[in-house]
Amino acid sequence: MKQTRSPALPLSLILALLLSIFPLPDVVAAWRPHWVALILIYWHIESGSLHGLGHAFVLGIVLDLMTGSLLGQHALGLIIINFLVARYRNRIRFFPPWQQALAVGALLFNERIVQLWIIGLLQRGWPDWSWWLPPLIGMLIWPWLFLMLDAIRWRTSR
């Protein structure tokens, strides 16, 4: 009960959305992790909120509108992530952090493949190698993000 009322959830989501369109220098822009997916995975695994596919769908549509990508493109990726998390949640929850990071990395990697499929259908050409950086970065920052959000969640829910 106490988790779901925490203001940390909407705040972290809005922050993630803002970070997704925050301009970065060209050199680092390709390294931007999929913030929204990371936050979604965290809340789903840890507190079970945002567990519905509908949540993922709405978030994805918002992200699509913000980045100007095809309507539904990010939504599809996030739906699939949420579906897989729902299926393996009970296992991922009790993984040690590094193993959890690997699982999250796999989820993000899978999302990237879905995106690649859409881009392929649109015939927009094959992206270069930096396309595969975001899942890697997401995987590396996951343990820290996890600890930070955990700390914030416990502090705000008391």
């Binding site: 301009p23 079970g48 509108l65 980045t67 100007g68 599809l76």
Partner: protein, 314 residues
């Protein structure tokens, strides 16, 4: 309590329910994508939703804009003086050129009167600053800090001091989204100048390049020829500089020759773009006269060369 809910549901309804929901949502997403990439069915929804999201855009843009303002305030005095001196020099030169081209404009108007051709419309420019927002790198769009309140309409052409950049794609309250001519989905009616050949320039997906995909095999265009908008289709006024032909390929066995065009505009360097305020509804009124106009001067390309030449002379 909340943590147990999904598991309970799974136990009750089985995993098949989850899969069915996944398929349902995935189908909705794919249908949306298909509609979005095919036609204008979702445009209205998209527009309504985007205006709801506009505060987020502004929230991202605000701190960066204020940082830039701050750094501008702190630039050294000497630097500013140098800049002013340089700009004054530029202004003087430009004034001299403009006065010359005013003369040409009068003369051109006179000639057009003699020929009974319609007058060229004079367009107004609205300067707009780029908003600092990163968009999807696969779709070539930019956000500019002008919107409905400044009288921007969908379809208005956007250029910088050197050449055409794109057209307004979506208008919000204070911001609008511009689709670049280099976007793979964008097609632009152009004319290649010394010869006056008309064709369509497609976006290539790389920022400074366009493709001409359906040139006839015996085309007479050469490298370094100037490409300008033709004004057909009524969306862009005619004669805006677009780019220069970079290379021409005639692949044996293909029906058409293709060419690459380097754009004149400099998208990497710009902070300010110019939105061209086309009078009234862009499609309906000017088009018939324009088309008739084009046809009547088909054999006389020099008359449509006036404005690019003026931009070219320095």
């Amino acid at each position: 309590m909340a943590g147990l809910r999904p598991r309970d549901r799974n136990a009750l309804l089985g995993a098949a329910d989850g899969t069915a929901r996944l398929i349902f949502y995935a189908l909705v997403a794919i249908t949306l994508m298909a509609l979005d990439s095919r036609g204008q069915y979702v445009d209205r929804i998209q527009h309504a939703a985007a205006s709801v999201i506009e505060p987020l855009f502004l929230a991202v843009d605000l701190p960066l804009a204020s940082i830039r303002r701050l750094t501008r305030n702190m630039t050294a005095r000497q630097q500013l003086l140098d800049r002013v001196a340089k700009l004054e020099l530029d202004l003087m030169q430009t004034r001299a050129e403009v006065s010359r081209s005013l003369d040409l404009r009068e003369e051109n108007a006179g000639l057009r009167d003699l020929l009974g051709a319609t007058r060229r419309t004079v367009y107004r420019f609205i300067p707009a600053e780029l908003a600092s927002i990163d968009l999807d790198p696969f779709a070539h769009r930019i956000m500019v800090r002008r919107g409905q309140r400044d009288g921007i309409l969908i379809g208005m052409p956007v250029m910088d001091d050197l050449g055409l950049i794109g057209q307004v794609d979506q208008v919000l309250g204070k911001l609008s989204r511009v689709i670049l001519i280099s976007d793979p989905d964008h097609a632009l009616p152009v004319q290649i100048l010394p010869q006056g050949e008309r064709t369509i320039a497609y976006g290539s997906g790389s920022l400074d390049e366009l493709r001409l995909n359906d040139l006839p095999m015996n085309t007479r265009i050469n490298e370094n020829d100037l490409v300008v908008t033709s004004g057909l289709g009524g969306r862009f006024p005619s004669g805006l500089p677009v780019g220069r032909v970079h290379s021409i390929e005639r692949t044996p066995g293909r029906a058409f020759a293709t060419a690459r065009v380097r754009t004149l505009s400099n998208m990497d360097r710009n902070r300010i773009v110019l939105i061209i305020q086309t009078p009234g509804e862009p499609e309906l009124e000017p088009e018939p006269t324009k088309v008739a106009d084009e046809h009547s001067e088909q054999t006389r390309p020099p008359s449509s060369e006036q404005s690019p030449e003026a931009g070219d002379s320095p």
